[in-house]
């Protein structure tokens, strides 16, 4: 109990620190130089309508590469960690999933994947992008898993998608360095007409690859969790 009181005191101190921020901080009246630059120059320089996407994929593309890597390493860790606990499944009594679920997944799965693809392919125009699209695809995969919990999915396909899209992402980054001005520069493909699907140089390509990769990684995580034997 004393310990909890102590923690509350400690957190009160932390809260004071945060509170002091509220006092010294003022809401911007206008954007500082850097975001203002992004707002004004994204369209001519990067060619993306969605400034956040431009920042995520190009200006701070290196962060995004790291972000993809984090998901990748998390997925690898989970795969490595759960691999050992795989045991023969004969003792399980599969419970057939409902007819509704199994038929709906046949119908829904392609639709969800399509929607995900739409979200990441249009990331440079509308809200959304690779991560959101990837998550949506993973949701579709989840549906598959729920419909056939006992199904033996082939890791191979997921892995291949993940590897190839990831590698392509890095290669496009390198192409940016060779053909453009720097690593992950999107401008080595023509910027095109602002607001159209095929614009913003390599951004749609990159975001699609990210979408595929994230989708595959998240699906992989779900799959591995699904594979783990139940604990009694």
């Amino acid at each position: 109990m004393y310990k909890n009181m102590f923690i509350i005191l400690l957190l009160a101190g932390f809260g004071l620190l945060l509170g002091s921020f509220l006092l010294t901080h003022h809401e911007y009246l206008s954007l500082p130089q850097l975001p203002a630059y992004y707002a004004d120059n994204t369209a001519p320089e990067v060619g993306a309508a969605n400034v956040v996407t431009a920042v995520v994929v190009t200006y701070r593309g290196f962060d995004t590469l790291g972000e993809v890597t984090i998901l990748f390493v998390a997925a690898s860790l989970i795969a490595m960690f759960l691999k050992h606990s795989k045991a023969p499944r004969h003792d399980r009594h599969p419970r057939p999933s409902s007819v509704i679920l199994s038929t709906s997944q046949k119908l829904l799965f392609p639709l969800i994947v399509l929607f995900g693809a739409y979200v990441f392919a249009n990331g440079h125009l509308t809200p959304g992008g690779g991560f959101q699209g990837g998550a949506i695809i993973a949701t579709g995969f989840l549906l598959l898993l729920m419909a056939n919990p006992q199904a033996e999915f082939k890791h191979g396909l997921l892995n291949a998608i993940e590897s190839i899209s990831g590698t392509s992402y890095v290669i496009i980054g390198i192409l940016g360095a060779i053909l453009g001005l720097g690593f992950l520069d999107n401008r080595f493909i023509s910027l095109g007409q602002l607001g159209t699907l095929f614009s913003a140089g390599a951004i749609p390509v990159i975001y699609s690859l990210i979408g595929l990769k994230v989708g595959a990684e998240l699906s992989n995580i779900l799959h591995h969790l699904n594979e783990v034997q139940n604990e009694e």
């Binding site: 130089q33 975001p35 490595m80 960690f81 590897s163 890095v170």
Partner: protein
Amino acid sequence: MVSPVHIVSIGLITAFLLGLGKKSQQQMLVFVLMIATAAMTMVSGSWLIGLMTGSLKPTDVFTAGFKPPFAINLRMTMDEAVLTTMVNVFGFLTVIYLFDVLKKAGKHLLSIIVVFLIGLNVVVMTRDLFNLFVFLEITSIATAGLVIIIQDSKSISAGFKFLMASSVISGILLIGIIFAYSYVGNLNIDFMTNLSMVKGGAVAVFLVMTAIILESKQFPANGWALDMYESAHPAIGSALSAVSAPAILFVVYKLMPMVPENWHPVIGLLGLITFAFSNFLATRQENIRRMLGYSSVAQGGLMLTVVAMSVYFGQSFWFIILGFLLTNFFAKAGLFWLNGIVNSDDQNKWGILRKRPVLFFLFGVFVVAMAGLPPFPTFFAKWEMIMQLAQGNGWGWIVLILLGSIFEIAFLFKWFGRVFHAVKDQPAEPVIPWFKEFPVMLFGAGILATSYYFIKYQQFDNLFVLIPLLIVAAFVVIDFLPAFIKNILLIAALTFYGYIIYPEIKGNIMQLVFMSVFLVGGILTLIPGFATKGTRAGFYPFAAMTIFGLIMLVNPGDNLTFFMGWEQMALGSYILILRGKKAERPAQQYMLFSAGGAYLMLAAFGMLPHFAGDTFFGNLSGLIPGAGVVFVLFALGFMLKTAAIGLHIWLPGAYSEAEDDATPLVSGVLINAGVLGLFWIVTSFGPQQLFGYDIFQLMGWIGAITAIGGNMLAIYEEDMKRLIAYSSVGAMGYIIFALSMDSKLGLLIALYYMVLHFIYKTMLFMSAAGVIYRTKTRNMYEMGGLIKSMPWSFIVVLIGIITLAGMPPLAGFAGKWMFYNAVVMKGWYLQGTMVFFSGIVAFLYLYKLIASVFLGQLKDNHRRVKEAPFVYLLPQFIFVIAIMVLSIFPQVLLEPLATIIPDRVPGEAILWDGRLAMTSFGYWNAFAVMTTVIVMFATIFLWLTYHSRKAQKVKQFNIVFAAERPFRPETTHVSYNMFAGYKKALGWLMTPLATQFWTGISDWSTAIADKVRSWYTGNGQTYAMHLLLYAFVLYLLISGGKIL
């Protein structure tokens, strides 16, 4: 040139492509990983080389083609090149080292390893704060993945604790980053140097810095890190210690420009607290991995201090940080890897290494390098750091560093000693695959090469520093040769060295005297080594190191050379002592006391410039006012080596447990190093006050008490070597007393007695070694009657003890005579009487030495004992001749010695008139005394011979025993408990106060360490709370309780 960003792209492509691999191709995948890490190494390495040679310029890589702050940029300068090369080389070697693990582990682990390396590379290179955050997160998750290579419950829960801690830390970091952004409007480190000036911006700086400092595992908010070190695979522990920690510290360095100046000392001090406490707690660790973890944390703390104070250190910064960084890199990684090879956290299991001389040697190198002893980089870095801190009067800091260092030495050498002696019960030849040995050897070579460059960089006088070290190294290389060849080579090397060095020092008699003592002593004590068979592995490099260390003391160009020689001598002799069969504990004590003394000296060296400028301490012009503290520190340091009473408890064990023929070197020769130092400070500082007390007066009392105490302790000894060892304590008391008289005569006595003690003590120890060599025992009551079988040894001992006792006609008497004069002149009657009394006490044990070893009945089992080998006797008789010459012509030595004493020293000198020595109190003619004694002796001898010509010879056992044999026959021996009566009367004087005191200190520190380390409860939640608490305290320290 390949852009540094391709370190990342190569790594990432590899990581992603590894996913395509199949289970059956695992071995190939490992090779792919190896190639990838090699390629990463090539990129960063080529930048390193390019930047070093100047063919490349420091560069910024602009990702996305926009200049900062509009996009993220990576920087590649010398700093980053060094660190990324370290990271990548390490990664490459880790892959090799883990070859067998990786072959079985599956592709995911391979990906995690390469991602881990990428993370560190970018953490080092990036100049963007948020990018830093992202890649720190990558590193954290990858680390969590690496921790569970061994998937046991320990490592899994350690990994979870780590994840909890890193969640808290990254939360703090992210909130700091976003605050920083809201104040300055960008995220680039180079554009936010003014952050702390902005109103409220200091909070952002505080949060960011706190997170990074917490990430660098500072005490006491580092339980998570320790648990991880303890439970992770050694290769991973080494990665955390050797590359993760430096990368984080580099982040601190990158961020320092935005930290307000007045925070620097706070951060620095926290680092030092970590250093001191972690090393302290490491002393209580039995588990090797956890101990190494504590040690890693400690090193991290020390480096944090240096980094935080980088502005303060200025020019020296690079030198200091590189010293620590590289040593930690090579040595810590090496030790962790060795842990993996031994595959046990139990110190006793490490005996496996004894079967692999090369690995064992490297183990020693790593330990010594970690401990900060010469010739390794940490030694120089620590020296420089302390000198710099002293310049700014940072005494508290120095105390922390030195405390930490002594704890570090304590646990490192306890470990080393244990391993050295853990030979028994080992399984047969261990199978160590090449890929485990290779990285260790490479890193061993790395640390040796680094040391070489550090010494070169310091531009040390080659003749005195580098060449001796190279000779030592050469003896390491030829260690496989038979002992007698190495013996010849070492003697030849020393002789040759003496020959080339003679012209350098012939003008300086003082140096000449000490040089002869060390060099001649070194050579003569080596001669008995011819009697040993086999290779005597590991003896000669350290004998060489000891002797050359001593030689370095004689002609130091500066304080550093002196200190380096001192430490080398200590290290070399430590190993020589450790080689004894039961020497584990005594050697450990010896090391601790040596290090303690050395660090006192180091502190004194730091203070010295405040009084005397940057001059060598032995060359001061005399009478430096107000330097009492410096003097006392020096004096304590040197008196530890001369074993003044209270500081002597290491001596008997160390001297007696060392190998018998190595004892003369580590005792008779080596102890004079302390005398050299004492002589130097007495002559160059002049009389000093401490809190109004005259220090010389104090020293005089210490000397007197030491003289009496040492001799008292000697008389009850049954062990031959311990007896002679205690007698050294007494003799040193005598010298300290003489030195502290600070008169011309007093100093002369000290020098004369130093030479004399060197001669007779070396001689006695050699003679003892000869006796022990033959009788195989050290207990005197197991000997007896050896006069017949070992007459030459008897003569040597007889002459030795007559000299020691200061009886006419031998040279010892000259000392006594001068002593009377000096004491009367000085008027120190009480102390003088004590010293004289100690001389009487000396008779008791000297008598025992003769009576119980050589006289009396011969033991049954010694019936076939022969005289000591010729190689033992030869040097002894050289010494005997020297004593004879000195006895007849003392002026040969005394006159040159008198010229050494500086003019400022008060008091009257001896006047020489031919063979007649005169003072105002009287005169003495050694030649006449000798002649008289010889004549008297001859007369009596002839008369006795004539008188007893009819006497009948009786066999020794020509008697009949009447009763049955006693239960313990040895108790009937005359020398068994010989002075029981005296012990009853004077035993109370013998209460081992000093031993009790030091044992008390040791127990007390153990108890405290146990209290402190119970802080690490093992509960991840508590650890997370520690992080917040640490942040809270740091806030209070920085802000002083106000809002930032």
